[in-house]
């Protein structure tokens, strides 16, 4: 345990170009070695509490308001739990396919937004490049074709969501045991009209990411963590985003568990509360509190799966795997590459679903005997998402537990911040470049603490360096205009 009295504290508050509010604090000893790195989530939501007493069928609609970027994920995870509450373990084939289609659209739009709008400026211009140019506007100026394709990829994902749920954000799609609307031939054909372009853009995004990673060997160690990985896989071990068993592997690829029925998730995952963050710290029960932390999300999924069922994405996965010499890729920045492989998979899967005659079916709702408990798990864009509800006899919610994807990456983000700070912090001089390196590490995870708004670097930021004697040694402020001022 650190003796904090002899350490200096640096605070990055708030972290920018992520959504929502978080801050970084670093504690450094007299030799500038990072002794403690913390990524704090300072916003509090409280959904688990205030849905208590509400009717169960309202839950998927209530909890999707957790997020403006991935509402579909919360909607579907809750809907899967609500299916169990009404005694339905398997939907009609058409409803399952409609939900998958909705989810692929969601994953595509969220991933495209994150890579092109938020992270590509760091990767295209360099982490310490000119701040005023290091944003989406800079990308549009220097790489207009790329930026436009990114915008269009996201738009297509949103169109898929709109067709199925009636709105691009916060629509209405699920009912207990099924879906509320069939897909019409006209809607299907409208989506099919653009799918070949979407496939091309997604392939280009994968190629770009591969190039970024292979041509910048200096970044291989950036925030790198030899971590455990948790994700859902299909019954043959394939990449699966909507429904499957849980798989956890150690960093060397050895199995911790596989094809675990997620309805018993509380037997394999525990959550630790720490006083300095509103976000919990989950860990794998089997490995314990110190060693059981793990990573979720695109990197975990692409590392963990045995194969991808669609050919273009599978070819991309093989290149990814070769980059890791056949083993797991632990580079934190490889999250971006894995994310784009998933976009390509989504594009292929959307095409296949649209061409499947069953997608146009009208048998949408199943019924069953009511139960008192339901667990819904889904691979949200940012990782494995758990929704667990218990209901009273009158159908109102008695208890809810949500483990949101970003929560699972909490320890990992902290470790990555520590790793980057150790490598890049140089003396007492704080530079905007250093500041951004810390944020680049966090952005790679696409944290969903940020669910509410994309600040696009416009949020004010303050970094303060405090000497071991408690005096402020240096202070830099970034104004909402982007201007950097040394204020000490």
């Amino acid at each position: 345990m650190s003796n904090n009295e002899n350490l200096r504290r640096i605070a990055v508050d708030p972290v920018t170009r992520v959504e929502g509010h978080g801050k970084i604090t670093l504690l450094l000893d007299e030799a500038n070695h990072v002794r403690e790195a913390r990524f704090h989530i300072v916003e509090f939501r409280g959904f688990e509490k205030f849905i208590q007493g509400r009717p169960y069928w309202e839950v998927p609609y209530f909890v999707q308001r957790l997020c403006g970027i991935c509402p579909v994920s919360h909607h579907l995870a809750a809907a899967k739990a609500v299916d169990q509450l009404v005694g339905v373990d398997e939907l009609t084939p058409t409803s399952t396919k409609l939900r998958k289609l909705l989810h692929f659209g969601q994953t595509m739009q969220s991933h495209a937004l994150h890579f092109f709008h938020l992270s590509s400026p760091d990767l295209l211009f360099g982490f310490g490049s000119n701040l005023e140019h290091r944003n989406i506007i800079g990308v549009i100026e220097d790489f207009p074709d790329l930026a436009l394709k990114g915008v269009r990829l996201r738009k297509y994902g949103q169109q898929v969501i709109e067709v199925i749920s009636g709105k691009r954000i916060h629509g209405a799609a699920t009912v207990p045991g099924g879906m509320n609307k069939a897909l019409t031939i006209e809607e299907r054909d409208r989506l099919l009209a653009d799918i070949n372009d979407v496939l091309t853009w997604a392939q280009e995004a994968v190629d770009l990411n591969e190039k970024i990673h292979t041509s910048h060997p200096e970044n291989h160690g950036f925030g790198r963590l030899n971590s455990n990985y948790l994700s859902m896989v299909g019954d043959k071990g394939e990449l699966e985003l909507y429904h499957g068993g849980l798989r956890a592997n150690k960093s060397d690829g050895s199995s911790i568990f596989d094809q675990f029925d997620y309805r018993g998730y509380y037997n394999i995952i525990r959550e630790e509360v720490r006083s300095w963050s509103y976000m919990k710290f989950p860990y794998l029960t089997e490995l314990g509190r110190d060693d059981g932390w793990y990573r979720v999300g695109p990197l975990a999924r692409i590392n963990n799966c045995d194969y991808i069922a669609t050919p273009l994405a599978e070819a991309a996965r093989k290149s990814f795997k070769a980059f890791g010499n056949g083993g797991f890729v632990h580079d934190t920045l490889a999250y971006h590459w894995a994310r784009m492989i998933e976009v390509l998979h989504c594009a292929e899967a959307i095409r296949d679903l649209l061409l499947d005659p069953e997608i146009l079916g009208t048998d949408l709702v199943m019924k069953g005997e009511k139960r008192e408990e339901g667990v819904g798990v889904i691979e949200a864009p940012r990782g494995t998402l758990f929704h667990h509800y218990k209901v009273n006899e009158d159908g109102t919610i008695k208890k809810a537990n949500l483990i949101v994807s970003t929560t699972s990456n909490n320890q990992a983000m902290n470790e990555s911040v520590r790793s980057v700070a150790n490598e890049y912090l140089d003396g007492n001089e704080i530079t905007e470049g250093l500041l951004n390196h810390l944020e680049v590490a966090i952005r790679a995870y696409d944290p969903c603490l940020s669910c509410a708004t994309h600040a696009l670097g416009k949020m004010p930021l303050e970094v303060e360096l405090i000497g071991a004697d408690g005096e402020a040694v240096d202070r830099i402020e970034k104004a909402s205009s982007g201007a950097i001022n040394r204020t000490l």
């Binding site: 009717p55 309202e58 749920s165 009636g166 209405a172 009912v175 509320n180 159908g395």
Partner: protein, 247 residues
């Protein structure tokens, strides 16, 4: 004596015929003229409580649902000044309860919400009350969510006048007014309300809900996706729409 043909009131300068015994609202609805209202439903006794249907009758404000039509009335209805007051009334109805439209299953089918849109209401304007109100989910087929109750008493009257029961009433005063159930326990399960009752379906907001149902009508096909609240024959449309849950 023939009372049917000759008598006329003027609403916004338009001649509107009426029969003896009709209110201004009755005459307006018959002439396809919309006067915003929430607590009025043809077939139930007029109530005059929501005050949205306030019009100027010969320069003096009056509730059109309770004011008898009489020869020579010059009535101002669709004026900017009256609609501004109606908007304020609607805003007060919103902030007095807990109306979370985004997650409410009545969204798109809610008359209060539709009137808010109709009157150009963009926010609640007044500070939110955030009252603590009890949800009663005790009944096998119905849920009473008092968060959304606007005290229009349509359910009170429907139960008494159409269903031949006396399930609901309003209790308390001022900001403590709330809908109660006339049963020994105060719970819906111990009342004699049934799913088939008019009172179970008449709520213009999301206060009385059909259990285990919701969000079944997709966006684009909900009542106010395809109808304007100003359509004067909307009551039947709404009742037909909610009753499909019974099937």
């Amino acid at each position: 004596m023939n009372n049917n043909a000759d008598k006329i009131i003027k609403i916004d300068g338009v001649d509107v015929p009426f029969k003896d015994g009709q209110t201004i609202m009755d005459a307006a609805l018959a002439a396809d003229i919309y006067i915003p209202h929430l607590c009025h439903k043809p077939g139930l006794s007029p109530h005059g409580s929501c005050k949205l249907c306030t019009v100027d009758v010969n320069g003096r404000p009056a509730s059109s649902c309770t004011m008898p039509a009489s020869e020579g009335q010059e009535i101002a209805n669709n004026t900017p000044a009256l609609n501004e007051v109606r908007k304020s009334i609607t805003q007060m109805l919103f902030i007095e309860g807990n109306h979370l439209c985004p997650s409410c299953e009545k969204t798109g089918d809610c008359t209060l919400q539709a009137i808010g849109y109709h009157l150009g209401m963009l926010d609640g304007h007044f500070p939110q009350f955030y009252p603590r109100r009890e949800v009663d989910a005790s009944h096998g087929s119905l849920v009473l969510d008092r968060d959304r109750c606007i005290m229009c008493e349509l359910c009170v009257r429907a139960s008494r006048e159409c269903d031949g029961k006396n399930v609901f009433t309003i209790s308390g005063r001022g900001t403590n007014r709330h809908l109660i159930v006339n049963s020994d326990s105060g719970k819906l399960v111990d009342s004699d309300i049934e799913l088939e009752d008019m009172a179970a379906h008449i709520c213009p907001v999301g206060a009385i809900l059909i259990k285990d149902h919701g969000y079944e009508v997709p966006i684009g096909r909900r009542t106010f996706d395809i109808h304007s609240v100003a359509e004067t024959d909307l009551d039947d449309v709404i009742l037909t729409k909610v009753r499909h849950h019974d099937e």
